[in-house]
């Protein structure tokens, strides 16, 4: 009874759920490696299976996202602004959404990646997944950040993780430009509609790293409070 006075003043901590959400979002993007490996070979059964995993993980991420939002009422008093945590959640979620969009597009149109650019393209996908992985590695430090009060040695560690994330993102940008140039050189040999959608696929895939980078930006904002 009276003891509940103490027990009830604690809201649900958003820290572990946010870390969990970022992990699911990363796992979701990770499926793209398998998906495109199958797609490049024309193995559409394998691609469909990978796409199914992407969908499942994206749904899981959505569930966790809703759960976190439900437990973050405006009356909560936290070390960092609630809005910043919700924004972080949003960009984490977008990594998974992009993975779902791009795999849906490729599977729906049975798009074959031209052999001339397929190796570079697979490497490009891998680097985007690396960016998501590095975003997860940074977000995994959230509980330590909360423990240390967003100050001191832990902050330096997270800053270095975010720097690495930025480096990976720059790398994906360069690869994206090279891929577009390579596609441009061979586009006259391809179907115009296919070409348009290939550009779209490159763009959507590249957005995974962009979102990962924005996860880093959001974390930096938390550090600056």
């Amino acid at each position: 009874m009276l003891a509940n006075m103490l027990a009830n003043i604690f809201g649900t901590s958003p820290v572990q759920p946010l870390e969990k959400h970022c992990d699911i979002a990363y796992q979701c993007t990770k499926q793209l490696n398998t998906f495109f490996a199958c797609a490049v070979k024309g193995d559409w059964d394998g691609a469909a299976a990978a796409r199914k995993l992407v969908e499942d993980l994206e749904n899981q991420a959505d569930d966790v996202k809703k759960e976190i939002r439900l437990h973050l009422p405006k009356s909560l008093f936290m070390p960092v602004p609630r809005e910043d945590l919700l924004e972080l959640l949003l960009v984490q979620d977008k990594m998974a959404n992009r993975a779902k969009d791009v795999s849906g597009l490729v599977l729906g149109r049975r798009m074959v990646i031209p052999a001339q650019i397929s190796d570079d393209f697979l490497e490009f996908v891998r680097r985007n997944v690396d960016a998501a992985k590095q975003a997860r590695k940074s977000v995994r430090e959230l509980d330590e950040l909360f423990t240390s009060g967003f100050k001191g040695a832990e902050v330096k560690l997270v800053e270095s993780l975010i720097e690495e994330l930025d480096r990976i993102e720059s790398d994906t940008d360069e690869r994206q430009a090279d891929l577009r140039a390579a596609l441009f050189r061979i586009e006259s040999e391809l179907e115009p509609v296919t070409v348009i959608f290939l550009y779209r696929v490159i763009e959507l895939t590249g957005e995974i790293a962009d979102m990962a980078e924005r996860v880093g930006r959001r974390l930096e904002l938390l550090l600056s409070h």
């Binding site: 009874m1 009276l2 003891a3 509940n4 006075m5 103490l6 027990a7 009830n8 003043i9 604690f10 809201g11 649900t12 901590s13 958003p14 820290v15 009422p73 009356s75 909560l76 008093f77 936290m78 070390p79 509980d143 330590e144 909360f146 423990t147 240390s148 009060g149 967003f150 100050k151 001191g152 040695a153 832990e154």
Partner: protein, 416 residues
């Protein structure tokens, strides 16, 4: 003679029931954090709480008991009709107990201290007359209900701020924790011991010279800190747990400190809250024995012992469930946080006990937790609930008062 025995028996029954309720419900606040953070097992927590609640009640519970007994009601008006005070005190105990039952049924956050003080003020103001209430004293008490959470919050903010600066933000938090935690242990043991010696022991009949008091407090603190240091030295990092949570071992070092602050908290709680149960009983006993309101007589030690025993029984019979439940809910209060909140609350409460002011231990602890939160130490605090808690005492005072008035007139009609 017959009537007197009836009065004393009734007061004892009500008083023990109240003490049982305090032991069953309130003690959890002092111990749950240590259990939740695995610093203590439930069995150890019950044992520690029983010892220190009892010690607090007996060694430092006298001043607040005196306040409840004769500080709120001006007894000089009752020299002709001392039995009115007996009815009133019995009514207050009943009213507070009933109100706590109603509140717990509905899950309202209500403090034992608030209900008993409200009840005594109520019966005195209406049953005897407005002049019978020591309004100045009551004003001080009500003011302290605002001041104590704020003070505890401020102290907790400072303590946790120092923990962050000295330990948590350092590149080698574990080394720093091993170095500084014994200092915190010394500080905790010294403060609680000193305040008790200076303020509490006069009621037990022990008087020490100022210099002796300080020497004794330092000696006890050094012993406790030395034991703590040995325990800390035995803590080995667990590589598997460290991988998952970098601060895991640091928190284990703080868990040692947590045991000390939990003892302090139980001691503080016993010293302040035992009065809610036995203050009225002490009043009834002194009147029944002498026939007049014994403004001079001190509280018989056996009454304090009875109150302490009641709390321990409540703790043993029912308290373990509450401790377990609350412990699961307050995992955010890790040892590095929990100790800061508890030390701040315990210090505030023991000082209030020494001064003879009944305050709500839970409100004080909630204030301390908010202080840690302000130092960015807690993941999420629900301010709506905090607001409800602090509004609750505005409701509790009139509720306790009304019930006490009702029982007062019933008892007046029924009892000889």
């Amino acid at each position: 003679m017959e009537a007197q025995l009836v009065y004393i028996a009734l007061a004892a029954v009500f008083g023990i029931f109240m003490a049982w309720g305090i032991g069953a419900n309130d003690v959890a606040n002092a111990m749950a954090t240590s259990v939740g953070s695995k610093a203590l097992t439930i069995k150890q927590a019950i044992l520690v709480a029983a010892i220190f609640e009892f010690l607090g009640a007996v060694l430092a519970g006298g001043a607040v008991t005196s306040t409840i007994r004769k500080g709120i009601v001006d007894a000089s008006l009752l020299n002709e009709t001392p039995e009115l005070l007996v009815y009133g005190m019995l009514a207050s105990l009943l009213a507070a107990a009933i109100w706590l039952l109603i509140a717990s049924r509905n899950g309202w956050p209500v403090s034992t201290t608030h209900s008993i003080v409200g009840a005594i003020v109520g019966f005195a103001a209406v049953g005897i007359g407005m002049d019978a209430v020591q309004w100045g004293k009551v004003g001080t008490i009500v003011m302290s209900w605002v001041v104590s959470p704020v003070t505890a919050g401020f102290i907790a903010y400072l303590i946790f701020g120092s923990v962050q600066r000295l330990i948590l933000t350092q590149p080698d938090p574990l080394e720093k924790a091993r170095r500084y935690v014994p200092v915190y242990i010394f500080f905790a043991a010294f403060t609680i011991t000193l305040v008790t010696i200076l303020k509490g022991l006069t009621h037990v009949g022990l008087e020490l010279k100022m210099s002796h008091s300080y020497m004794l407090a330092v000696a006890i603190a050094i012993v406790v800190a030395a034991i703590g240091k040995v325990a800390i030295a035995r803590i080995e990092p667990d590589p598997k747990a460290e991988k998952k949570q970098h601060f895991h071992t640091v928190e284990r070092v703080f868990a040692i400190l947590m045991v000390v602050t939990a003892c302090s908290m139980a001691f503080a709680h016993g010293s302040n809250d035992v009065a809610n149960a036995i203050g009225p009983l002490a009043a009834v006993i002194s009147i029944a024995q002498s026939g007049v309101i014994g403004a001079k007589s001190s509280i018989p030690l056996w009454v304090l012992v009875l109150g302490g025993a009641g709390i321990v029984i409540g703790l043993a019979t029912y308290g373990r469930h509450v401790i377990a439940t609350v412990g699961e809910k307050i995992t955010q209060l890790t040892p590095s946080r929990g100790f800061a909140a508890e030390l701040a609350a315990a210090t505030t409460i023991v000082i209030a006990s020494g001064t003879g002011i009944p305050i709500s231990t839970t409100h004080t602890l909630v204030g301390a937790v908010l202080g840690v939160g302000l130092a960015r130490g807690i993941d999420a605090i629900d301010l709506r609930v905090v607001g409800r808690i602090f509004v609750s005492w505005a409701v509790t005072i009139p509720a306790g008062a009304l019930l006490a008035i009702l029982f007062f007139y019933i008892l007046k009609a029924v009892l000889p």
